[in-house]
Symmetry: C2
């Protein structure tokens, strides 16, 4: 395994992780997460996680953008991978910064591409997948704070044309808080 | 220097760059660029690049988001670093995907924080910095296609409240085209 040391590389002005064996600089850069609030008849598509972290908790179809993808392609791929759903994107619903873990999340509002069939099923990273009306959302078993933020953004913006993207909530502008309750115990 | 080979690491499903010496996986992940269209009296703040690539060409104050920053903090830092300007963000003007080089760009519309002084001056990465009315923008010396896209987004959206973020132009949805003209010769 690589052994990394923290130092300022020549020509830089910040400490970086540098491999002690080969001098490779492992830039710790923010990661882009793309995901969707997929809506049909006022209900939203959610996935129960089959993988760590937060196995067993509910999330939106979302994940890391891959190199060479557009944000739109990434969001559509995640819906296919996690919920076996083909989706059409309405536009950007929210953009969140989670500074604590170096993430920028771009969340779209989306619809099923195969209306009125609306096929969905668990992908390999999901234990189960379901459509939830607002009051039926498993609020006590949400995987991450930003899932709640995205659901709130959807609720606030309504079903009409999208406006400016929603940002972090006022009480966590930098994305530094952890979940409260069971999630807090899980270190999230 | 690290010698990297391309192979699929155990438990993954894509080829990654793996160090032949130490097995470190250099994930090639998309990078987040944050920047601003800083507006005053219908003119926009632009910087002439002192660094490669595209030295001598004009750009907006923008750069890579650093770990631990929010997108807003990153955009404000870049305006300070490149144009010595303190800015206030109105909101997100545009979100672009440049799939060819693995970038997601979040571009804000902004104003000077020190109105009516509007202090700006070249930072270490800029040869000169100036305010340009639309017709005075150095269109023949723009550094990157996305600079033009952001300026177009500003022009289209006008000075009022921001709407949904502008995305890639219709003729380059994936962000794969290079500049035409002098920029093309520079390989951009």
């Amino acid at each position: 395994m690589a052994r990394f040391v923290r130092r300022i590389p020549e020509g830089d002005n910040r400490e970086r992780l540098v491999c002690a064996d080969c001098d490779h600089i492992a830039y710790e850069i923010p990661k882009v997460v793309v995901g969707s609030v997929v809506v049909a008849d006022g209900a939203v598509l959610m996935c129960r996680r089959a993988i760590e972290p937060r196995t067993g908790y509910w999330t939106l179809p979302a994940g890391y953008l891959e190199l060479g993808e557009t944000i739109e392609e990434g969001a559509m791929r995640e819906a296919r991978e996690e919920a076996q759903a083909d989706i059409v994107l309405d536009g950007i619903l929210a953009v969140f910064s989670i500074a604590r873990i170096g993430q920028v999340q771009v969340i779209f509002r989306a619809r099923f591409a195969d209306e009125p069939t609306r096929h969905f099923a668990p992908g390999p990273e999901s234990l189960e997948v379901g459509m939830f009306a607002w009051d039926a959302i498993p609020w006590d078993s949400i995987a991450f704070p930003s899932v709640r933020w995205a659901l709130d953004a959807w609720r606030q913006s309504g079903p009409g044309p999208l406006g400016p993207p929603v940002g972090n909530p006022a009480d966590d502008r930098r994305g530094t808080r952890r979940m409260t309750g069971p999630a807090q115990e899980a270190g999230l």
